[in-house]
């Protein structure tokens, strides 16, 4: 064939070589680009392929009490994690894991969700596995690709339920918390404080996690655990030293468990505002929450009618009742509307007529003529009605706020609710209309009833101010929160002494007589908060020794009927503490008598039941 002549073939061969050269240049160019120009990018991509970062959890800082006893510490635990390439393969492996270690479907879903957050990191399956579980899993490692087991510090609270409401607990940070940047520096899987001190001081306690790298193959099976890449060691968290007296706290817990049938709360502080004991009953065991509580247990806690998860110290708000009379007295002294020795014009005859209504005193027989000290001691309502009228509603509200009754205390624990007291008479105008309410409000407010709800903690803070040098200091376990500035009660030294004397008169008859010939005098005030829904609540707030207070204790029993139910327990706590700081008082037998004070039924505001507000 003519076109197959050799000279033509030579031309065509040259063309063919040209085409081939072009094709090979394209290939070589492509390889040069990938291997020489973009090599770094692909090299890091390859590293990302084979190296999986596994967080090395930092040991959390210890939490210690004022004497150096341990409240929270770490013990070695095992964490079981899984590396997976896809949701399906993760589920398949989890199904096999659950054959060796029981897992419910909710737990499995949780793991899948954790995995979806960070698919390149091992997802935590069991955060505190038992040695037996780990042994069983290790035995079947071959059928569990992606299994990573590592020793991790586990949080333990040796005091258990005695400190539940105080310490909170720790658990893995949630996706929502990560989104909100709630915990700066925390990443997926980081253990953070979820409540209580653990949450409040998380940034100090947490430290920072390290990272180690394990080498995996394409099936996410671990190939090499050590030396794949240099690890970054974790930095341990700092310990915190609290003001808590752990032995006193344990005493409160055991006392409550053994003797007290009521739900309630108890707080003990020293005159500097340092919290010595902090208890809300019923309590819960924070150890159950570490690393995630089981669904059924959580439901049990949630549906328990006694609400063990409610922190009654911080979040329980009740009418302050008689203990508030000290506040009314302080206001009257501050405003100068009463003279310490003067008697109110109207004697107590078991009640007092105001407008169209008769306001009763708790003691139907009446108290007769009273001065301030006597009225506090006998808790005479009629005296305080008159004091309230002298002050007037605007002053009662304004002074109430100045004494800190409309604010949170500023304790260094999360989730504190603010005590509530209307800010001004405008509140009543809004609520009832400008002519819809009368000075009867003053009568209610003066005896701690009415539109006034206080937390136990806030009431204890007020008594701490009285017991101390007249300055309210935010109760604290480590230090007051930033911004919680001390609040001066604005009382002169004489006024302070007067109020203390009035208070010690309350329990004068029950002065503790020390067997060694030394007297411990206790000062305090009982209270009964009227409860329209059931039995009355009981208050007692006291301090001792009366002349040189070392401890202020407040307690509140739900449906406790009366403050005198509460007072003996407070006395026991006080004695226990005083004994512990002064061993010579050991064996002191405290006998306590308090009068049968009961607040009058709260009066509903009836329009025009009294003279209009000036």
């Amino acid at each position: 064939m003519s076109t197959m002549q050799s000279y033509r073939l030579r031309d065509r061969a040259a063309q063919a070589i040209g085409v081939l050269s072009l094709a090979f240049l394209i290939l070589i160019g492509a390889f040069f680009r990938v291997q020489a120009l973009e090599s770094d990018r692909f090299r890091s991509r390859a590293e990302q392929n084979r190296l999986r970062p596994v967080p090395l959890p930092a040991p959390r800082g210890q939490i210690l009490d004022r004497n150096g006893l341990t409240i929270a510490e770490n013990v070695p635990g095992f964490a079981v994690k899984l590396l997976a390439g896809s949701r399906d393969s993760l589920r398949a492996v989890l199904a096999r894991v659950s054959a060796y270690v029981p897992m419910d479907s909710a737990a499995i879903e949780g793991v899948v969700q954790r995995w979806a957050q960070a698919p390149y990191e091992p997802a935590a399956v069991i955060s505190n596995a038992t040695f037996e579980a780990v042994a069983r899993l290790e035995e079947h490692r071959y059928s569990l690709p992606g299994l990573v087991i590592q020793s991790e510090p586990r949080r333990v609270y040796p005091a258990g339920k005695a400190i539940g409401h105080l310490i909170g607990y720790v658990s893995e940070v949630s996706a929502a918390e990560l989104n909100r940047q709630r915990f700066p520096g925390a990443g997926m899987g980081t253990i953070v404080g979820k409540d209580g001190l653990e949450l409040e001081y998380d940034s100090i306690l947490r430290g920072s996690n390290g990272i180690r790298y394990i080498e995996v193959n394409a099936r996410h099976r671990m190939v090499r655990e050590e030396g794949a890449a240099p690890p970054i060691p974790p930095i341990a968290g700092e310990p915190i030293h609290t003001t808590l007296d752990l032995s006193l706290q344990l005493y409160v817990d055991s006392m409550w468990t053994a003797d007290v049938v009521y739900n309630g709360s108890l707080v003990a502080v020293n005159p500097l505002g340092e919290i010595l004991a902090f208890y809300s009953a019923p309590s819960f065991d924070p150890n159950e929450f570490v690393g995630g509580i089981s669904q059924t247990r959580w439901r049990e806690y949630q549906t328990d009618p006694n609400k063990p998860l409610l922190n009654r110290v911080l979040r329980g708000r009740y009418p302050p009742a008689s203990p508030y009379k000290l506040a009314t007295a302080a206001m009257a002294l501050r405003r100068g509307v009463v003279n310490p020795d003067s008697y109110m014009p109207e004697p107590c005859r078991g009640g007092m007529q105001f407008g169209s209504r008769f306001f009763r005193c708790w003691k139907p027989e009446g108290h007769g003529y009273q001065n301030l000290v006597g009225a506090v001691a006998t808790s005479c309502d009629v005296y305080f009605y008159q004091l309230g009228l002298r002050l007037g509603v605007p002053a009662l509200l304004e002074e109430g706020h100045l004494l800190g009754f409309g604010e949170p205390t500023g304790i260094d624990l999360p989730h504190e609710v603010s005590s509530s007291l209307p800010g001004s008479t405008a509140w009543y105008d809004r609520q009832y209309g400008p002519r819809g309410w009368s000075n009867a409000v003053a009568l209610n407010l003066a005896i701690g009833q009415g539109e006034n709800d206080q937390t136990l903690l806030n009431m204890v803070r007020f008594y701490q101010g009285l017991a101390g040098n007249g300055t309210l200091i935010a109760p604290h376990l480590v230090q007051p929160r930033a911004g919680a500035v001390p609040r001066d009660l604005g009382l002169t030294a004489d006024q302070l002494i007067l109020l203390r004397r009035a208070m010690s008169a309350v329990v004068e008859s029950g002065t503790a007589a020390a067997s060694g010939g030394r007297d411990i005098r206790m000062a305090g005030k009982t209270g009964t908060a009227q409860n329209p829904h059931g039995e009355d609540h009981g208050w007692f707030i006291g301090y001792a020794p009366a002349e040189d207070p070392k401890i202020v204790v407040g307690a509140f029993f739900e449906f406790g009927l009366h403050g005198s139910t509460v007072a003996p327990y407070v006395a026991r706590v006080i004695r226990r503490y005083l004994e512990s700081i002064d061993p010579s008082l050991r064996g002191v037998n405290i006998r306590l008598e308090v009068q049968a004070d009961s607040a009058p039924a709260p009066l509903t505001i009836v329009p025009d039941s009294g003279p209009p507000v000036p």
Partner: protein, 413 residues
């Protein structure tokens, strides 16, 4: 060697490629994850032994006999392709296709490999018997039909990669027999139209360019009109054809265009291969040391993606060496084709060039994402008996062509 009458250049290049290929195949088996790739290099050695015997037998057979037998071989290959469509089974990466011929569960081989050579022989016979090279599109009808039949049968398996090889063979041989490049471009135009169909702007530009080219090159009016109509039709057909494609083929084509969007599925191979090659850098991670391969991130590292192992472990230098060896092979084949003693053997040699080149370009190109992933083996590297024996047959033919030309005195030119 001279005594045996073997072309020394071809022999040394092939020997180099075989040794290189076996070493890489050995390395491909060195993984942390146990797989069938582990002993592949030893099995491949057995195939190489068989291939040498086969090549020697082919070398011994006369081209006149081959020329005579070409139509029969071609028909036999077509028959096998039909049979495989009916009773064929899938295997390995192409488990969803019907490409293997098996009797009683024992896989005998892939008929498509035989069909490639049979088509080369038959097309060479047809073209060499023509008085003049194809000078119009009408002259192209028979060559297109010869290649088109096995092409369509292979597409039906479906095996897009091998089908592309047939097109490579067709164009290489038409070029070698003397068809004008402009004519080849017109012949290829429907394919170009098909590829551009998804992008309206590019397709429109191509149709304008084609119109200009037709005016410049002045084919017969009817042919020009037909070409233009076919091109227009392809723009429409492409959409329909797309729907006809199996999901895995669609995925491959789409992921070729944008592998990152399909990283988890069909783009995975393309990305991991590129990562392996890129991480090799200039000098590689060292023989048998590539982590991507070792930890099984690299898919099909002993078959379709064996060239990625070269890139990862020997780096750009190794890639360059391998490509230069292949380039040397093709130069040697061109030389053999140019010096062939007769048109038939010359066309056979160049057809083999088209066949091998398509394999190399397509396979190497897909490892670095400049070609779609079609799963065709790399000569002398990829593990696989059928393909190795086919290459052995092809080499036997090439050595024979070289020997014949030396006997007729061509070799000294």
């Amino acid at each position: 060697m001279r005594r045996l009458g073997l072309d020394r250049t071809l022999l040394s290049v092939v020997a180099g490629l075989l040794v290189f290929g076996l070493l890489i195949l050995y390395s491909a088996g060195q993984t942390e994850v146990p797989s069938s790739a582990g002993g592949a290099w030893m099995r491949q050695l057995v195939w190489v032994g068989g291939g040498i015997v086969l090549a020697a037998l082919t070398f011994r057979s006369s081209f006149r006999v081959l020329e005579w037998a070409a139509p029969g071989l071609y028909l036999f290959a077509l028959a096998l392709l039909v049979v495989v469509l009916i009773v064929g089974t899938g295997a390995g990466t192409a488990a969803g296709t019907k490409s293997w011929l098996a009797i009683g569960g024992v896989r005998l081989g892939q008929p498509v490999e035989l069909a490639k050579l049979a088509t080369i022989l038959f097309l060479a016979r047809y073209l060499s018997t023509q008085r003049s090279p194809p000078d119009s599109l009408r002259d192209m009808v028979v060559p297109c039909a010869i290649v088109g039949l096995p092409f369509l049968l292979v597409m039906a398996q479906p095996d897009l990669g091998s089908a592309i090889v047939f097109i490579g063979i067709l164009f290489a041989m038409l070029f070698w027999v003397g068809a004008r490049p402009s004519l080849l471009l017109l012949l290829a135009s429907p394919l170009i139209s098909l590829l551009l169909a998804s992008q309206s702007v590019w397709w429109g530009a191509w149709m304008v360019l084609l119109f200009v080219l037709l005016l410049m090159w002045k084919p017969y009016v009817v042919e020009g009109v037909v070409i233009y109509l076919i091109n227009s039709a392809m723009g429409v057909v492409a959409i329909m054809l797309w729907d006809k494609l199996r999901p895995h083929q669609q995925a491959r084509l789409v992921s070729f265009l944008n592998p990152e969007a399909y990283a988890a599925n069909s783009g995975y191979q393309a990305i991991q291969s590129k990562v392996a090659i890129g991480s090799g850098g200039l000098f590689g991670n060292g023989f048998t040391q590539g982590p991507q391969k070792r930890l099984a991130f690299l898919p099909e590292q002993h078959t379709d993606f064996i060239f990625s192992v070269v890139g990862e472990e020997l780096g750009f230098v190794g890639v360059l060496a391998a490509l230069l060896l292949f380039f040397g092979l093709f130069l040697a084949i061109i030389r053999i084709a140019r010096r062939a003693s007769d048109p038939f053997s010359s066309l056979v040699a160049f057809g083999i060039l088209g066949f091998l080149f398509t394999h190399v370009f397509e396979n190497v190109g897909m490892t670095i994402s400049i070609m779609p992933i079609t799963g065709i083996p790399l000569p002398f590297f990829s593990y696989g008996g059928s393909f190795l024996l086919t290459c052995a047959l092809a080499l036997g033919l090439l050595f024979r062509v070289a020997w014949d030309s030396r006997l007729s005195g061509y070799a000294e030119i």
